[in-house]
Amino acid sequence: MGLLSKKDAALIKDPLADNNPITIQVLGICSALAITAELEASIVMSISVLFVLGIGNVVISLMRNIIPSKIRIIVQLIVVATLVIIVDLVLKAFAYELSKTLSVFVGLIITNCIIMGRFEAFALGNGPWRSFLDGIGNALGYAVILIIVGFFRELLGSGTLLGIPVLGDPIEKTGLYALGYENNGFMLLSPMALIVVGIIIWVQRTRNKTLIED
């Protein structure tokens, strides 16, 4: 970390574990759960949020001294909405099938609480470079959870990763399926996303007792 001072490095490292936006700050749950049935969708969603949060934090941070505090929510919404439209159009142009899978959830990045939360809590009070690092850090923390959930749901639910079968062929009974393994179709249904996140929280708080709520 020669490039970054210790304080700046902490901005990126903290959200990855002990100050994770999803499991600790409880921000951005909505989109995190709905699209994680496939790993690919989770990754694309993470990249979209990384882009929106990184750039958005810088823009808000640059404007922080000229935004009147009464209308700051509307200003923030407009900044996010513009960035999200860019993401949406790029997805529609280069990954049309995927943008159909994500459906309205790309649009819902606008009201993803992570973004508003970081604008309010960090970008309004800090310079552009630090805000950029904070945005990247939080988006990566979000991405970690999304990718873990997506990984398990796709692996256990349909036996594939990124669409490539890794456990053998369920119809011709090769690989693990020859031993009598079955895909758990239930993992693909939405309630399981909640339960997987619940288990991640459980594991994380068992390892780090200071995070336990009373």
Partner: protein, 238 residues
């Protein structure tokens, strides 16, 4: 009339905002510690959804859709402004929330005292924007149906937050493993409740099929639907 009822119950139970599409989870988790605050936020959500969904339906129908501008004259007929829908919807929602706040404060101070603090929260609640975006992607046909959809999904969200708040009030006296206390157990309970709500899935398809065919809500592309299909496919393959 029948299609209104059908859409109403479908949006409350089958496509429940929280349990089927996870919309509004952030405030759902943050404001569900006490039943009384949950009721306040839930009522505000119903109120705002009932106003913004029909309003955004009008915007979508007369400004944003491909060809929607033809009422201004034939030369505008091939304009497609749908890429602007995110920014238009969110701007409508933010202004409406502000307007509702001012009006309620003026005419009903008691209502303002109970709803007031929740209204600013609602502008950034995914359930509100989600309601408008689903209304758009499911191609709801008339203004009346859009209103029904808004009210129905608001009530669905209200039910969900009321239920979880009641459960969380009780669970405080239970012996939950320390690491699961608070957020963890709430997630798992919500998951179990969502499994429960899945049993409403067959509610509207149990009877005769031909009345189902002409409803607009059939053309939805939510991820959950794909998932159910996938799950069914795997079952058939077995």
């Amino acid at each position: 009339m029948l299609e209104h009822l059908e859409l109403f119950f479908k949006s409350i139970f089958i496509d429940n905002m929280v349990f089927a599409t996870f919309l509004g989870m952030c405030s759902y988790l943050a404001v569900s510690k006490k039943v009384s605050t949950a009721v306040g936020l839930g009522a505000a959500v119903i109120f705002v959804l009932a106003i913004t969904v029909p309003l955004n339906w009008l915007l979508d129908q007369y400004i944003l859709q491909p060809g929607a501008l033809s009422w201004m004259g034939p030369e505008y007929a091939d304009y497609d402004l749908s890429f602007l829908s995110f920014i238009m919807f969110i701007a409508t929602i933010a202004t409406m929330v502000q307007l509702v706040e001012i009006v309620v404060e003026k005419f009903s101070p008691s209502l303002y005292n109970s709803l007031g603090i929740f209204l600013p929260l609602i502008a950034v609640n995914c359930a509100i924007l989600g309601g408008s975006l689903f209304m758009q992607s499911r191609e709801i046909e008339t203004l009346g149906l859009a209103t029904t959809y808004g009210v129905g999904s608001g009530i669905g969200w209200f039910l969900a937050i009321l239920a979880i708040a009641a459960i969380r009030e009780k669970i405080r006296y239970s012996n939950v493993p320390p690491a699961l206390r608070g957020l963890g157990i709430t997630f798992i309970i919500t998951g179990l409740m969502a499994i429960g709500f899945m049993s409403f899935g067959g509610m509207l398809t149990g009877g005769d099929e031909e009345t189902k065919e002409d409803t607009t809500v059939e053309v939805q592309v939510t991820p959950t639907d794909d998932n159910t299909e996938l799950a069914n496919n795997t079952k058939i393959e077995e």
